[in-house]
Assembly symmetry: C2
Homo-oligomer: 107 residues x 2
C-alpha cells in the first residue's frame, strides 16, 4: 500500500503513457515487471503504482522516490534505460513529471 | 493521508492540467479550495491529492471516488461544474481519466 501525504519530503513521479487500447495490458504488465526486476532495487525507490484507464487509452505510473537525485540517477542506469525503452516502444507518447504533494483532502 | 491499494474497488481520477508556470500556484490553490468547499461534501468522494510539478508546467489531481457513477454524478452537479469551469480557465488543457489500480510495488 502506498501513502500520499504532504509531510514526507519525497519526489513523486507521475508518468502518463498514451497507448492504443490493444497495447494497454502489455504496457501495464511490462511496467510491473520492470519495477519488480529493476526499479524496486535501485537506491531511493519507495513505491510504484501502475494504473490503467477505464477508457483503454492510458497507463499511468504514480511512483515515489526518496529524492529527485535518486530518480535522476535511475534514469542514467543502463538496465533501467533498457526497460524504459521497451515501455516507450509500446506507447504513442509518455509524459513523466516530478511533483510535490501540495494538499491532501479526505472526506 | 491517502492510501493506494489494489484491494479497494474504487474509481481513481487522475486529472493532469497543463499550465503556464505563472498560473500553477493559482490553479493548485483553486483546486484545493474547490475540493474543500464542494467536492469533499459530494456523495462518494474519498480523497483528492493536489500535486504541482517541479518544472512549473503541470498541476495533477490524484483523486479517489467510491465508484465511476459517483464521479459522473459530480460532473453533473452545477456548483461543481462552476468550480471546474474556473479551473479550466487557468489551464491550457486538462486531461481527466478514470483508472483502476493494477499493481502496487513497494521497496
Amino acid at each position: 500500500m502506498t501513502r500520499i501525504s504532504t509531510e514526507a519530503p519525497i519526489a513523486t513521479l507521475i508518468n502518463v503513457f498514451t497507448v492504443q487500447p490493444d497495447q494497454q495490458r502489455a504496457l501495464a504488465d511490462l511496467l510491473a515487471q520492470a519495477t519488480e526486476e529493476v526499479m524496486q532495487h535501485l537506491p531511493g525507490f519507495i513505491s510504484a503504482n501502475i494504473h490503467t484507464s477505464t477508457d483503454g487509452t492510458k497507463v499511468t505510473n504514480y511512483a515515489q522516490w526518496r529524492s529527485a537525485e535518486d530518480f535522476h540517477a535511475m534514469l542514467g542506469n543502463p538496465v533501467a534505460r533498457e526497460h524504459m525503452q521497451r515501455a516507450a516502444e509500446l506507447a504513442e507518447r509518455y509524459e513523466p513529471h516530478l511533483y510535490t504533494v501540495e494538499s491532501v483532502h479526505q472526506r
